[in-house]
Subunit: 235 residues, 4 copies
């Protein structure tokens, strides 16, 4: 299926071309420790065309030529790179595109996400932290406020990544204000209107997950009211 | 308002031009984890002209062309970049310029700052640590000594960043020796006579905040007398 | 023994030549903190020729010209760089080549490996974490599944690195499904079919060791059943 | 005193020239968090000429032109860069050169060093960890073995860095096998026969200090016998 015509879909000198951006962002995420050991995945949508990083390739060594390209309407591959396997994340990326009209979806194995998934049951919640303001309300225009609570649903992991699709879609329905879903003992999926928004949401959420782990270790409830930290203060 | 004349305010081949320095420092701060997810802000003053990073732009991808430029005397914008919003930190940067004659002001969402703001009430204090010597006395010439106590006031966060202005100004009045103010559950503002001094103060303070968190976790009071750590020693 | 002919074994403009790859990977491992202070080692096999980083050279400053080259069948050096000593890891690398037909072997002093070796007795085990899927089954084709348990044997350290050979070989026999061996109070050896697989296994294992330390600190057994973490949840 | 003749002492295209090496190593140490906020210092000796980084300059922005140059025999400056102050570490560097014939001396504010100085009284000791083998015996040729104990004396800090000289020299006399001295609530001085050995010793020691903090937090004595960790194992 891969031919010169299909290759032109991923060959571009524009650094903002999705095939180039995926490579650049994968290097960044690798340096964050989010996608080591070929973990994680990423997809960017451009109109009705979606670009998807392949399975099993080292994220920091990805090349534009490694990208799968799919037609979002027909779900048919427009390009299949030679000797690479499609990402098992693909059905989950499609869920974000279809149900939320996302422009990009990022999946990481961030340790902060995995640890939080071990500390919380059905949802992770955090409130009254400034960084929350980087995240969108989704159900209405605009961003969360400082006094708002960020809620991220947690779904159970499955043996095969593609089998997460149903529970991810259910979480998207059950939590209409969520722009991310945690997968227990696995990692996190984050999406956004554009690739840059998805990246910023991912960074802001990971910051909050990391902070929440620290707060829990200090005995401070991450979703506690302002002043609730006084109970644990020794000074 | 933005035109060729205004654009010349931010276009320079000199790496030490404020518009270039802001971009360079934002990349550095991003790598420190201080301004991920578009968090934080920075402003540099050159005479009566101040340069301010815009709101909502990814800090590590900032370009000189993104900068707002303001006349410090008239508070009027000399340059407004197209389709960008002014930083909500602007009134706070102005407070540092006006009340302290600062040459630059840096705002980060450093997790060390947020965690310390959860562990302390009205002020953070640390004493008898060498790194304290990197910080200025402010109320008289020279730098703090090893035996001095560094005091940083903590103010309560507000729903809107600009509403921090009054309490930040009050803290500046109440703590005339402070070169920084912590904002609870939010981050820190640090200023200095020049951009490089502001950066060095910021680094030194963040080092001390990080160390104080570790000391607290080990049961050692960060502002304790030399020898007070003996109580917790097991060897 | 080193001469122009031997030098041609390590001189190449191809970045994927083993002598070049060793240098590139050592810089990466140095930045991970795995081989600071000249710690650790690495070897890559190309057919029956093996390339080995020398002893005592700073890993991030290694040059292709520093490489030892050995014939795997005769165990004779094809190239000995001037004024450098062979790595004491060499017999251990040979054990991985001989007993497992490895394509590369990596040895690091990763602190995660050392800490885990202090927390576990004969074997380290972790289960029900997605990242486990990056590791091979070895005894049959394919990779471990999410519900599988990863087992890594731990051997006791010896005064001289080369004396680890017998117990490493015994561990390879006793644990036929292992692609790595932890050395107590020392570090870890990881091998794979190719250098890239060895690197990916190393990254995935280190991720799991790091996560296991965090889980233990939170009171969650790393090899516990799904749901076992509920006992320690406070929310 | 600074003139064209003196400037030639620090101007070289050779990356291994001491003035260039100091700049390169300071950037590395800055990225390690060892010399943020202008903290720390470094000096390299070439025969009887010593090169010293100035006081108060940001370590990652140092230029060869910023270097002080001194004659080790006469203790007279051969070069004083304009408008810079000599490092307060200079007497301590001289102590390492004079008493130990060191080729370089590094001073950092590493947080691992400061934390360890709060946990130990007169000396820090660690034993039975492989990384110890990177450190020299000093009192006889060769390196420490795996079963040896590394001992680093701890001296009390003083108001002025130069006043550490007497106690540093006393520690050098009292601990003839030490290649480093910890300064309580301050940092560490490490020296070696060459700049590269000093760097490697510094890296190996910092690795061991970091590991020791982790071991203490897990309740495992860093200088305990092999097997002593069993008491704290829960698996």
């Amino acid at each position: 299926m891969s031919n010169a015509n299909a290759d032109s879909l991923v060959a571009s000198h524009d650094p903002n071309h999705p095939a180039n951006l995926i490579c650049e962002l994968c290097r960044l995420f690798y340096n964050n420790g989010w996608v080591t050991g070929t973990g994680g995945g990423i997809s960017i949508r451009k109109g009705d065309i979606i670009f998807i990083a392949p399975s099993g390739v080292q994220k920091e060594r990805m090349l534009p030529d490694n990208m799968f390209v799919m037609d979002l309407q027909t779900k048919e591959y427009l390009r299949v790179p030679q000797s690479l396997k499609p990402s098992a994340c693909t059905p989950l990326f499609l869920a974000a595109y279809t149900n939320r009209n996302a422009g990009a979806c990022i999946h990481t194995h961030s340790q902060n996400a995995v640890v939080i998934s071990l500390l919380y049951d059905k949802v992770f919640t955090i409130a009254n932290i400034e960084q929350i303001k980087a995240l969108p309300k989704i159900t209405e225009p605009g961003y969360l406020g400082f006094f708002d609570t960020l809620t991220i649903p947690i779904i159970e992991n499955t043996a095969h990544e593609e089998d997460l699709k149903d529970s991810l879609e259910q979480a998207i329905i059950d939590y209409p204000a969520a722009t991310a879903v945690l997968v227990r003992r696995h990692g996190i999926y984050v999406w956004g209107e554009t690739v840059w928004k998805a990246k910023v949401y991912n960074e802001a959420i990971d910051y909050l997950l990391e902070l929440a782990v620290k707060m829990r270790q200090l005995g401070i409830p991450p979703d506690g009211a302002i002043g609730s930290e006084r109970n644990t203060r020794v000074v």
